[in-house]
Symmetry: C2
Subunit: 446 residues, 2 copies
Amino acid sequence: MTGTKDAGRPLGVAVLGMGTVGTEVVRVLRDHADDLRSRVGAPLVLRGVAVRDISKDRGLPAELLTTDASALVARDDVDLVVEVMGGIDPARKLIGDALNAGKSVVTANKALLADYTGELAAAAEGSRADLYFEAAVAGAIPVVRPLIQSLSGDRVNKVVGIVNGTTNFILSAMDETGAAYDDVLAEATALGYAEADPTADVEGYDAAAKAAILASLAFHTRVTAADVYREGISKITAEDLETASAVGCTVKLLAICERVSAGPGEPTLEEGGKDRVSVRVYPALIPRKHPLASVNGAFNAVVVEADNAGRLMFYGQGAGGAPTASAVLGDLVMAARNKFYGGRAPGESVYAELPIAPIGDTPTRYHVNLQVEDRPGVLAAVADTFAQHGVSISTVRQQGHGDGARLVVVTHHAVESSLADTVAVLADMESVTAVTSVLRLEGTEE
Amino acid sequence: MTGTKDAGRPLGVAVLGMGTVGTEVVRVLRDHADDLRSRVGAPLVLRGVAVRDISKDRGLPAELLTTDASALVARDDVDLVVEVMGGIDPARKLIGDALNAGKSVVTANKALLADYTGELAAAAEGSRADLYFEAAVAGAIPVVRPLIQSLSGDRVNKVVGIVNGTTNFILSAMDETGAAYDDVLAEATALGYAEADPTADVEGYDAAAKAAILASLAFHTRVTAADVYREGISKITAEDLETASAVGCTVKLLAICERVSAGPGEPTLEEGGKDRVSVRVYPALIPRKHPLASVNGAFNAVVVEADNAGRLMFYGQGAGGAPTASAVLGDLVMAARNKFYGGRAPGESVYAELPIAPIGDTPTRYHVNLQVEDRPGVLAAVADTFAQHGVSISTVRQQGHGDGARLVVVTHHAVESSLADTVAVLADMESVTAVTSVLRLEGTEE
């Protein structure tokens, strides 16, 4: 790589955390210093890296390593802080301290941002520093910046993403091989695609944090993880994938951020009221021809629908050291340019303050799998139960005979509460042996 | 939509041109003023629209329309200029005047940018104004901003895009229906997907301008339209699509921007030399399983490959009034925010100054379609001709008999000049009735 020789005063960089992402960020800072200098206008100089264990050999001069992250952030010669340690504490305080001191921060910390963007953005605003976080959602895929900047003149109506690589690896493998959840999870763990404790991924917490961030940006409204309805994939069975396949679908863990109309009895947008925001993470059936259906393995993709832009899709590697580092370094160059040229990143935009729609109000389609007694009239009785609760049926498919008889019901759009009431009654019916699964169906036009 | 009430001094906007894009930009400026004000921090006020014919009813107050674009740009109360008139003159001078006067400019003008970005960027730099142009490439799809900003800490190696909707509509239709080029072009014209004079689209000029812009951004090197090797689709036949299909491919007009190694005898990157940039637009076979193969109709998509980010794909509507307006308005909000908060857009980055690799040096795979005499030894003679010119064959397929006998040869990577020499000899061979087509093959791993 090449670079110009004349440049401004060096900008000092502190890196907090040296896991896979931090290691790659440090490598690029050192190996590609010339290019970075040319792109920023001034040299980026690594002042230090905060690590937990200073004795481990990381191929770095010892004087660059410290266990005192606070002191590193506070150094006078540190202008920019890269936080890739993860977790809420001490990252929250370190980032706050940096921003309050006027140092710009680049972070990949979705859990922190999902709950504390407001606090951190206020600190950045107060000292005119930048807070960048492209790497917090979907790794190297630019989706934060497009939502904040590119779509700032449009009205976003929906964001649907596959934003967790671990669960997508598991569901893709279950779909391809027909294997059971536990077996595929064990394989994912062995391959390093799942953590020893996979809860944050498989129960949807990671995706929910990302959904909160995406919804905040898309709808100019502060959305936190607590606002996100969340179900994980740990109850998905091989049979779910099989029945999905039978109706031309696969199962994906989706993060869905959607603009929905005002609640019952509330003034609509046209009447001077407000739309609401529905944010939810759950495994759902999607048709195989849907663009997200072919996003397999550890890949991520995000579909954005806006009034004027129409449907956009962003696809790429959503995790891993190098891809995440790419996003971090892009933010770092931009933050450094702002330091050098006197610019500012766009601040938090939460003016719209749209209310959150409860999951019970959110209409979706459902795919209900029932084990039933194999005798005449069962289908009619089941259909009648749906009708009594105002849930309109799109298709019913009867499969198998005798003890293995099953009904697979696909509904039109229904609200969660009506469907829940329907399922409660179905479960009590004598002719219904079991409600095997209830999954949502997304990505159909209906 | 909702908006806050307190805001800064109004920012004046001039819109140059009121075609499909300008009309949509003006509509949003007027209909969504509250949202835009909340996002910018200050009201955006439309000062005027420059049009050619002032007598046409455009649903706007007469005092907003003018035929004097120069005077509109020069108004003291105009802070931001949106150029959506297209063409080189007078757009070039109007944008230059605006930038020289410190007014930020948002433009969708790919032809102008492909040749004059240097001049315009210098004007912007001189007055510390912004020049934004997301809408110039791939309509609503954010690709300019991701290349400039998100990937500014990465090394881009390749950009491959379907960036012209007209030609993609034509090739998609030929692929689906088996129809001839002229028939599909006539249909595209009737449907409004092709202009009365389709030359700029079908001969690849539009895609070449976009390729020049993408290459400039990807490689931090000034690339103009003249640097782009260009072939259009007007010679593509129904038979080309058919033989492509027979080898599991379709045909797409691709804009390819690629980092290639130093020329023969020149120092390599490792020896202190420089990589080169190959920029080319041509119809090429791509495997149906390649992500770009399923981008059909008027849609656009751009694939970016970078060292750390890996392969990213951006997909959406690449043309049309509303999608292009979405990109223009996103830029406008960013330019206006910079005016309000005192920020700056990233300026032109051309420090790398990589040389352009001539097309003759650029290795690609080829798909050569020959009409041959149906007698023993022809295949061997043809294969020998390829071998004599150092072009390695991947597969040969013999089709038909008698007068209709054909050979379809797919090569491994070969440089253009070797292939051209091969084809010249083939054309002179007695047993070769005709070289029916020579198309490149892209998107294979080989």
